[in-house]
Symmetry: C2
Subunit: 143 residues, 2 copies
């Protein structure tokens, strides 16, 4: 069975470099849910070399900082799971105390409806956030 | 309200260094569930300096590699959530295709009972795993 993260971007492409790409997840009810996807097919974080791991986590930190700066979330959630798609990808999720699952993980049962107006307010901030991200990720790749 | 990860180890202490500690989680139904806890109270991964983040993730990779080497899991799950306890801690979880939740995240609903015999087999391997971990974490801290 073909790996979906080898076959496709895996979401709305924000930026792509030689080693990794950043996409916005589109299939879930969280407006600020990004993924850092390692381009090469490796299953586990420790399949990367130490230098690759450091680079990967610098990109994760860049995305986290952009979410904090632009959206002031209650909390950031980071995760590399891959049980369904064992191709290394880091979930970087801005969480809010009003979101549908907070304080539970996004993979648990929803606790309340997601307020559409607040989601729309966040969504309007994503273009500026993503423009900033592209600049920072390009700078990181060139460093 | 006092932070529980400032007040206590947060689980069975495996190793403690100046910057971080590793504990085995005891409150969940997964036999190989560890946490890398940053000793100082910071909420987010990006509250650390770049050097601190690199050190933290090297420790996460050491734990991941020990789990892979000793237990040959189906997958490793890594996560830093902290919605309930906003003190930086990394979950490092060995997942097996027979475990109670696989392939769902451990925070989703259980899919089947957890097989006690298989859990016991894993549990018997943890002392050797943790002895190895202590040596490697000490070496990392001294590097």
């Amino acid at each position: 069975m073909a790996c979906p993260l080898c076959a496709e971007d895996g979401g709305a492409l924000v930026w792509r470099g030689d080693r990794l790409r950043v996409i916005r997840a589109q299939e879930v009810g969280f407006p600020a849910f990004y993924r850092v996807v390692w381009n090469a097919h490796v299953a586990e974080f420790s399949d990367l070399t130490a230098a690759e791991r450091a680079h990967c986590m610098q990109a994760v930190a860049v995305v986290e900082q952009a979410l904090r700066q632009h959206l002031s979330p209650t909390k950031i959630n980071l995760a590399a799971l891959g049980n369904m798609v064992p191709h290394l990808h880091w979930h970087v999720i801005a969480r809010f105390d009003w979101d549908s699952h907070f304080p539970a993980p996004v993979w648990a049962a929803a606790q309340r409806p997601s307020p559409a107006a607040r989601e729309a307010t966040l969504h309007a901030r994503l273009p500026a956030l993503e423009n900033g991200l592209r600049l920072q990720l390009a700078a990181l790749a060139a460093a």
